[in-house]
Amino acid sequence: MKESITTKNLSYKIGFKTILNDINLNVPTGSIYGYLGRNGAGKSTTIKLLLGLLEDKNDNIFIHDKSLKQNITEIHSITGNLIESPCYYNKLTVFENLQYLNIIHKMGLRRIEEVLELVDLHREKRKKASTLSMGMKQRLGIAMAIFHDPKLLVLDEPLNGLDPQGIFEMRKLFQNLNEQGKTIFLSSHILSELEKVATHIGIIEEGNMIFQGTKNELLGRVERCVSIKVNDADSAIFVLTTLGFSIQNKETKKILVNINDDQQFNLLLKSLVQNGIEIYEIESHSANLEQIFINLISQAND
């Protein structure tokens, strides 16, 4: 699979402080890459470096196999971005903000209408950008990012300020853009949303990459566990530990057991029934992105 973004041992220092340490990003073309990290982990610095807003002195960033440092203007023509808060010209209307970009990118007036429809801002196109609500400003920022139909979108917290309906619409928009073949590099604190759209995940902690891979790889790293309500918890624990199961937690009549796969789950049920233990309730717990993220961060800090 070709890569849209590749970094080779990307490091960045401010004075003596290391902000990024040997980051090797591999963002496959056509993926939605969720970039996660705590505040101050180095996410925004990475994004600013990827867009050439901060200088990578060692020429370690490659966008579509081209050196960012040597082809910055060409790369800017195929990259759209939204970094932290949206950027727009206050004194210009919504339409004029896009017309400003149209003069640069020569996409035509139809494209302005098309993008306004996509982000649902067509009714506000005559309004001054400064008078828009926070969510609408965010939509304008996204409209400006996608205006020139870029191959690669780099979005830092694009869901900030959007209401649930807006978040849903943006998720659909990102998925549509992705289906059109665009690569989306996305950083967001709303992990549940990221889990829904991302195909690949990268996790950064204190400037170090602690995970990179597909979302399924990440979710597969964590053992499933089942919570079982039985008539005799002590007997159930005895049976299961004899068979090598690991018990995570025990309440009066409830036990939490780690399992690796479906065969183990089947064995667990069979052995409990064969030993005369009555089962009242079974609940499967699969770890979500938020739990995995927190676990990985705490492991990295141990």
Binding site: K48, L51, G52, L53, L54, T73, E74, H76, S77, T79, N81, I83, S85, P86, C87, Y88, Y89, N90, K91, L92, E96, Q99, Y100, L101, I103, I104, H105, K106, M144
Partner: protein
């Protein structure tokens, strides 16, 4: 002019022309000339007899207009130049500017070209309004004697030297506006330099202060001076010097 420079200039022109400050620098001087004209008509209409004035272009119109101009123009230019930089400070719009597929150099020079062109248009408008008002007064009050003096050469050179002065001032203001985000520094500096240049206008070293040029415009029109002096050459040097300083400041700007 390359295609990308044309796009850069068109986009800058589109964006910056939405600033209200642009109308200030273009129209306020013209409005001022018309107001002075109105004042002259009002004064004449009050008196019973209209007397002939020796060279009314300088004694009547020139004196009033340039007394206001030397105080007004540098401040208008400072406000306008700051407004051209302020659009990028708001919402940290340098993030837009530095991620469009146009080089920083082309963006910078298109901004400079736009600023200098607006100053030029402003001077042309003021020059035209000045001549128009003189001819208008010569028509309604031929007794004053505007038609008896061909003062066009002096007026042209006075306005031309004022343009050179304002171009140099605009580059100094651009450097300060790029160096400081707050409007206090560029506007405050222009006000201070205006007062300072009036105080030191008679000193020899004042030739090295471009802000003295606007005060000297009044002296030029009163003394019928058409020659280029040390101050004017110095203003050209200052224009180039501060253009380079501004370029350096713009190139090292980061959208963070």
């Amino acid at each position: 002019m390359t295609n990308t420079f044309y796009r850069a200039f068109s986009s800058e022109q589109y964006k910056l022309s939405k600033n209200k400050e642009i109308f200030g620098v273009l129209l306020l001087p013209v409005l001022l000339i018309f107001l002075i004209d109105g004042y002259i008509i009002y004064e004449i209409s009050k008196s019973d007899v209209v007397n002939s004035i020796p060279n009314p272009w300088k004694v009547l119109l020139g004196r009033y207009v340039f007394q206001f101009f030397y105080l007004l123009y540098p401040v208008l230019v400072a406000i306008f130049v700051y407004a051209c930089c302020e659009v990028e400070y708001k919402n940290n719009n340098y993030k837009i500017l530095f991620t469009i597929p146009i080089s920083k150099s082309e963006i910078f020079f298109s901004k400079v070209l736009f600023i200098v062109l607006i100053v030029l248009f402003s001077i042309i408008l003021s020059y035209s309004a000045f001549l128009l008002n003189g001819y208008f007064l010569s028509l309604i009050y031929p007794e004053i004697g505007f038609q008896n003096y061909d003062y066009r050469e002096v007026i042209f050179y006075t306005f031309f030297k004022l343009f050179v002065t304002l171009s140099a001032i605009s580059m100094i203001q651009l450097s300060i506006s790029l160096a400081f985000k707050s409007s206090i520094y560029p506007i405050g500096f222009s006000m201070f330099m205006l007062v300072f240049s009036v105080i030191v206008a008679q000193k020899k070293f004042s030739d090295f202060i471009p802000y003295t040029g606007s005060y000297n415009a009044l002296t030029n029109i009163m003394s019928e001076n058409t020659s280029f002096a040390r101050l004017d050459y110095n203003n050209i040097v200052m224009l180039i010097l501060f253009l380079l300083i501004s370029y350096y400041l713009f190139k090292r700007k980061r959208a963070i």
